[in-house]
């Protein structure tokens, strides 16, 4: 596959690979995709007291496009509020990385991962109680 330089850069030098403590109240974890599909993304956000995402980490099982999409996603969410991060669209990711048409679905998954992480964080703070768990995963 002929990939863009931006994509190759994210593959060779992925940003923010790692794990945050999903039990931490300030962390939201999104786990999307399925091993059977060859695409699984885990994206985590750490939200500061000012409501802005102060850190983000990802791990991905997937092709070069999937890795690059999720790496870019963690880069973009940092510094944003949850509402701002929710505005990130897969089309922006696909454009930035010049994803070939057959790989657009990887950017969709990355957008899903961001939203899943945000949802998990918000669920934890719904009733003001701490909740454990990862959205999409069975207990």
């Amino acid at each position: 596959m002929a990939y863009s330089n931006e994509l190759l850069d994210h593959y060779d030098n992925p940003r923010n690979v790692g794990t945050l403590d999903k039990g931490d109240n300030s962390v939201g974890t999104g786990l999307v995709g399925a091993p059977a599909c060859g695409d699984v993304m885990k994206l985590q956000i750490k939200v500061g007291v000012d409501g802005r995402i102060e850190d983000a980490k990802f791990k991905t099982f997937g092709c070069g496009s999937a890795i690059a999409s999720s790496s870019l996603a963690t880069e973009w969410v940092k510094g944003k509020t949850l509402d701002e991060a929710e505005q990130i669209k897969n089309t922006h990711i696909a454009k930035e990385l010049s994803l070939p048409p057959v790989k657009i679905h990887c950017s969709v998954l990355a957008e899903d991962a961001i939203k899943a992480a945000i949802k998990d964080y918000r669920d934890k703070h719904l009733s003001g109680e701490t909740q454990l768990g990862v959205s999409g995963a069975a207990e």
């Binding site: 990939y3 690979v17 091993p35 059977a36 060859g38 997937g62 092709c63 999937a66 899943a116």
Partner: protein, 424 residues
């Protein structure tokens, strides 16, 4: 070996050149295609500009010289499979041979017999031809394979009816390299009066083949899989007892009426030479490749856990290793080993986004199918190539596992199968 590599790479360096660093990129996709052996190219050259005559021209030396080249090649092809030269016809490749064998036989006998048996792991040209025949009204049984990739002979016996005209089972699978029990299949078919066709594209020159000992009635042969040129193949068609088939390509009646068209003399000569070389060197080459393949497999499994070989280890050509690296996706892995030319069974590498149907037929679970790499070594692969490849594969797998949420979960003892995945 380094001389051939030098010739291949077009450089003028001597055979004593530094062999510590392999020539990059390293070709490890020998099941996809092979480079022409330089000796094959040498044999072909005179037939382009000197002996360029039409081999069917009966009246002058240009024709006679070309005919001599073709008939000599025919003998060479027949020799490596234990056939008579009158039983070998040239085609444009194994795809055409497979089409001709299945459709040609089916159509000729359609008034009396309408049932065909094949397997789920055949090459697409067999499967698609079979589907086409189904649309025409033929019945097709697609035999499943066991976990090791081999068919169950009892299932074959049970599937044969008095309407069965042909059984088609590939000799060696292109994705996993496993060798089917040809002699046993031939024996069963002969006893039941059914034609036995085998797609031997990946087998000729790699394992010994004998159409008589194995009771084979039709065999497809490919030039570019055995260090010959692309665009040429052959079909072996038994004469005693005679196999009747309908031609697909009509015209001047060449190839005993089974395949019209002026024969491409240089390509025929190339295929013949490739067969002659393979016949002579098959034994030694198989040994060398076994050594390299074992070296590659052992070094990988020594350094990486959770690595699985797809297909039978023993009943396999030595040039093929098809390996699943759990928790690491195949296309992503291939990007990390840019200097290695390999292929993968992952959906992400196919235009259709479907994972390999061969791996699925083995019962390999989808997530492992996505993690597979096919490593194909061959005549020009060196030990340095293998060691370099292993080092970089191991490095890349470790790097990607560190980035993989599935690897992380496995390390934490989480059973990945228990998770409800939110598919999209």
């Amino acid at each position: 070996m380094s001389v051939t590599k030098t010739v291949l790479n077009g450089s003028a360096s001597t055979a004593g050149a530094n062999t510590n660093q392999p020539q990059l990129p390293i070709y490890l996709d020998y099941q996809a295609t092979t480079p022409c052996d330089p000796r094959v190219v040498q044999a072909m050259l005179p037939y382009f500009t000197e002996k360029f005559g039409n081999p069917h021209s009966r009246n002058h030396s240009f024709g006679w010289d070309a005919e001599e080249g073709v008939e000599n090649a025919r003998r060479q092809v027949a020799s490596i499979i234990g056939a008579d030269e009158k039983e070998v016809i040239f085609t444009s490749g194994a795809t055409e041979s497979n089409n001709l064998a299945l459709k040609g036989v089916a159509h000729f006998h359609k008034d009396k017999k309408n049932h065909i048996i094949t397997t789920v792991t055949e090459h697409k040209c067999i499967l698609d031809s079979a589907r086409h025949l189904e649309m025409e009204g033929f019945e097709v049984t697609y035999l499943p394979v066991q976990q090791n990739g081999l068919i169950d002979l009892e299932q074959l016996k049970a599937a044969i009816t008095d309407k069965t005209v042909i059984v088609s089972v590939m000799a060696v699978n292109n994705e996993i390299g496993v060798i089917q029990p040809l002699a046993e299949i031939g024996k069963i078919c002969r006893a039941r009066g059914v034609y036995f066709h085998t797609d031997a594209a990946q087998a000729v020159g790699k394992i010994p083949l004998d159409v008589n000992a194995m009771n084979i009635d039709l065999m497809s042969i490919s030039g570019h899989k055995i260090y010959g040129p692309k665009g040429i193949g052959a079909l072996y068609v038994r004469r005693k007892p005679r196999v009747r088939l309908e031609a697909s390509i009509h015209g001047g009646g060449q190839e005993r009426g089974m395949r019209s068209g002026t024969l491409p003399t240089p390509l025929c000569v190339g295929l013949g030479e490739a067969c002659a070389i393979a016949e002579k060197e098959m034994g030694a080459e198989a040994e060398r490749l076994k050594y390299l393949s074992d070296r590659m497999y052992n070094k990988i499994t020594e350094q990486l856990p959770e690595v699985f070989l797809n297909g039978d280890r023993a009943q396999r050509i030595p040039g093929n290793l098809n390996i699943s690296f759990a928790y690491v996706e195949g296309e992503g892995l291939m990007m990390g080993i840019k200097d290695l030319a390999v292929s993968s069974g992952s959906a992400c590498t196919s235009a259709s986004l479907e994972p390999s149907y061969v791996l699925r037929a083995l019962g390999v679970e989808e997530e492992l199918a996505h993690t597979s790499l096919r490593l194909g070594i061959g005549r020009f692969t060196t030990e340095q190539d293998v060691d370099y490849a292993v080092e970089h594969i191991v490095q890349s797998v470790n790097r990607l596992r560190a980035m993989s949420p599935l690897w992380e979960m496995a390390q934490e003892g989480i059973d990945i199968k228990s998770i409800q995945w939110a598919e999209h």
